[in-house]
């Protein structure tokens, strides 16, 4: 029987540097209009450098939702959105941002008292969508476009789903090559669009420089994560979730190289000194699904108390500049397209399964936790198949529970406890059978 002692996850300390950058970014965004910057709303994968090159500010819808939740300010915008008719089954990131957008456009109703982050974000001058593997993304941006009276120019980069037709696999094949070309062409049009919005010719030099930074940060992160193939793992999936901003909405932000270098150095140092993310690692777990941001700290300690390290995850390991070598800073569009096309949500099922099997081998995974984020159906769409097939093909056991990204009303703590406990028990039984 698994015994749960109160042990705590040994989280990376260098994460503090990232916090500093995050704070700078939000400060800059809040003051964007005052400093004469245009503000672009974006969703989907990180396209900040496209705007940064033109000295424009950008806000990333999901990053925003997560930030609002991290500040415990999510309830008011979510309530406002619900009162306006947005069903609580809609993507909670979208609902949260919609609520904030409506605060900005319609004003704050008397009966709500939202926090500063939810109300201080400027209205958009343009909207750019770049959503892989989820139709909700563009639909959400369209809803924002309507909230602001259909006056905001909107550019939608259509990222085609990489199904794996006619033998195309991860980063290979006719379908893949066609898709890359298609996305590159749209990026060229996006650049023309941004020239119009910003009113000046595109600053390619700056863009290339920023993509050089992106490549460096992406590489550092992938290398740092790969150090965690070691047993015991020096850092966990929860650390990588906390450190996501520098490769997400903070992509190419000043200071990200140093921050990620510090993270990598700390992981290396831990490895050299035999320090692990979980004091007494017995089990290695894969987290499948988007993060439950409200529960991150609780989850990290929960697994630690079962001597289980959540070593890797689809969210962290299969997206966010996970293929940095494909980026040529001199000619960056192809590399950006590849990273976006081949990210976790955009891959057809057989490719996803193949990638997960590879990661499971590389990280010596014993079990998988499927976090079925209730309002992120893009992520949970393949959970049942993955659970069945990874068990069949690799003997990996799993458990699942429902939760959400930023709406904790979908989360049932008791059930989560029981499910995690049951997984650990079966892993324990499997280990004792040898």
């Amino acid at each position: 029987m698994a015994v749960q002692e109160a042990k705590r996850a040994n989280r990376l300390k260098s994460g503090k540097l990232v916090n500093k950058l995050v704070n700078e970014y939000w400060e800059d965004l809040i003051n964007a209009k005052k400093t004469g910057k245009k503000v672009v709303y974006t969703t989907g994968l990180p396209i900040g450098p496209f705007m940064a090159a033109q000295d424009m500010a950008w806000i990333h819808g999901e990053g925003y939702g997560a930030r609002v939740a991290a500040r415990h300010e999510e309830k008011e915008p979510q309530t406002f959105a619900e009162n306006k008719g947005f069903n609580r089954e809609l993507c909670s990131y979208a609902r949260t941002q919609m609520g904030c957008a409506m605060f900005a456009e319609l004003g704050v109703p008397d009966d709500l008292n939202p926090g500063p982050i939810a109300t201080e974000i400027p209205a958009p001058d343009a909207i750019v969508t770049c959503y892989p593997g989820c139709s909700t993304g563009p639909q959400w941006d369209w809803a924002i476009e309507r909230v602001f009276g259909k006056k905001i120019p909107w550019f939608n980069v259509v990222i085609p789903y990489h199904m794996g037709r006619n033998g195309s696999t991860y980063m290979k094949g006719e379908e893949f090559e066609e898709n890359v070309k298609y996305v590159v062409r749209q990026f060229e049009d996006l650049i023309k669009f941004l020239e119009v919005v910003s009113g000046k010719p595109y600053n390619w030099d700056k863009f290339q420089e920023l993509m050089g930074v992106t490549k460096k940060v992406g590489k550092l992160r992938m290398e740092a994560m790969e150090l965690c193939k070691a047993k015991p793992a020096p850092a966990s999936f929860f650390d990588w979730s906390i450190q996501i901003a520098p490769v997400n909405y903070l992509t190419a932000w000043p200071g990200t190289v140093e921050a990620m270098q510090a993270v990598k150095d700390e992981v290396q140092e831990r490895l050299d000194n035999g320090v692990s993310a979980v004091p007494n690692e017995k089990y290695r777990i894969f987290w499948e699904g988007i993060m439950n941001w409200n529960k991150l700290g609780w989850m990290a300690d929960k697994f630690a108390s079962y001597d289980a390290t959540v070593v890797a995850g689809r969210y962290t390991h299969m997206a966010f500049w996970h293929e940095p070598d494909t980026i040529d800073p001199e000619h960056p569009l192809r590399g950006i397209a590849i990273n976006h096309l081949e990210c976790q949500l955009n891959l057809g099922y057989p490719i996803t399964e193949e990638r997960m099997m590879t990661l499971s081998k590389d990280y010596s995974i014993d079990g998988i936790v499927f976090h079925g984020a209730r309002t992120c159906r893009s992520f949970s769409r393949s959970h049942f198949l993955l659970a069945e097939n990874l068990n069949k093909k690799m003997g990996i056991q799993s458990t699942s529970f429902e939760g959400d990204m930023v709406d904790d009303s979908f989360y049932k703590e008791e059930l989560v406890n029981t499910r995690i406990e049951a997984l650990i028990e079966s892993l324990e039984a499997q280990k004792s059978r040898g």
Partner: protein
């Protein structure tokens, strides 16, 4: 063969086909030895598949509760996608030779992934239909059609000529014209056909050879024309909206009418949305099909198409006026994200236009049928 039947007999026949939606296709396969392709519900160029000599059918939601499928797709996905997964899991789709999934909605993408896994012997194809309406969208849709054409040609082992596609377009256009004529009749004489009758007409069209369906409709139309004189009109005029991939259940349609309403128009996918517009016959065929995707969305806007030049709420307000409808009943499949994103705008537009509306969020299992009944009755009562 249908000439000698009365309109009611013909409608019964169509209702039978619709109730057991894959039977006619299976018979056709036996008769012809040809292949059947299932389309994972909305937005597929059936004409292009038809041109390859195969029978494209639109996969249908079944009324029965989901059982085996629970193991493959979470319960918080929409009923239409779960129902098709369930059918695949139960072996009910084994008669298919191929199926085509599409990217119009992530829940449909995921459903098709599961079906692909459950039916490994069935050829698994995909139609990429870029959203939006930018200067390059038309060309991008043509490219998506060319990719599908290439895959269908491999599947059917047949080159598809422009002439083949044009021939199919003509057959499908004819079907749409005939159904639109029935719609026109019904909008003027709403009691001529129940909304379940309309549903049978559309649903049967989706699952049987169009040539045969055209013949049936050609027999039905004159009979309806002559019957219309004897119809007494009564009831609150209701416009029915929503219900994307899955047809609204007959039980719901019956409740609307039992509450004292007559349905004068709709924008259902299993309704006017399916036949609202023809494909041009005087253009290069793939270009014409691509243009059709943009144009029909201007006619009857679809929230999955992300075209900011369209205005679904305004379309609804205009339709209410056009059909002199008193009330709007919105049927929303539970968990249907594209629809949920639009409801607040529709609500505002209706309030602004002074049009009463009722939102019915319907679960696949119809677990709140009594509440739905009470709400519908109270709503229709308001207009009496």
């Amino acid at each position: 063969m249908y000439q000698n039947l009365s309109s009611d007999e013909i409608l019964n026949k169509l209702a039978q086909i619709a109730a057991d939606p894959y039977e006619r296709a299976k018979e056709w396969k036996m008769e012809t030895g040809s292949k059947i392709i299932g389309c994972y519900i909305m937005h597929f160029p059936e004409e292009l598949l038809h041109a390859a000599g195969v029978l494209p059918i639109v996969l249908q939601v079944k009324e029965e509760p989901i059982t085996t499928g629970h193991a493959y797709y979470p319960a918080y996905f929409c009923g239409p996608t779960r129902s098709i997964v369930d059918q695949a899991a139960k072996g009910e789709l084994d008669f298919l030779d191929g199926f085509v999934g599409g990217d119009y909605c992530i829940q449909a993408v995921g459903g098709a992934e599961v079906v692909g896994n459950l039916l490994p012997k069935v050829s698994n194809m995909f139609f990429r239909l870029p959203v939006g309406n930018q200067p390059w969208t038309h060309g991008d849709i043509v490219q998506g059609l060319e990719e599908l054409k290439r895959d269908i040609e491999r599947f059917a082992d047949k080159k598809i000529s422009d002439e083949d596609i044009l021939k199919s377009i003509r057959i499908y256009n004819k079907n749409r014209c005939l159904i639109r004529e029935i719609y026109e009749l019904k909008s003027v004489h709403p009691s001529l056909l129940t909304s379940s009758d309309m549903l049978s007409i559309i649903k049967s069209s989706m699952v049987m050879p169009k040539e045969e369906h055209n013949e049936i409709l050609e027999s039905l139309l004159p009979k309806l024309q002559s019957k219309k004189e004897t119809i007494k009109e009564e009831g609150v005029r209701v416009f029915l909206s929503g219900s994307f991939c899955g047809a609204p259940k007959n039980e719901i349609l019956e409740l609307v009418e039992q509450s004292g309403a007559v349905v004068v128009g709709d924008d259902l996918f299993h309704g006017y949305r399916y036949i609202s517009d023809n494909i041009a016959e005087d253009r290069e065929p793939l270009e014409a099909i691509a243009a059709h995707y943009i144009d029909k969305n201007t006619n009857v806007p679809c929230p999955t198409r992300c075209d900011p030049k369209t205005d679904w709420p305004q379309y609804l307000v205009d339709s209410m006026r056009k059909y002199k409808a008193d009330q709007l009943v919105i049927v929303m499949a539970q968990f249907c994200e594209p629809h949920m994103f639009f409801y607040p705008d529709i609500k505002d537009a209706m309030q602004e236009a002074g049009i009463p509306h009722l939102l019915l969020e319907i679960s696949h299992e119809l677990d709140s049928i009594e509440t739905i009944k009470t709400r519908l009755e109270a709503f229709v009562e308001m207009a009496v």
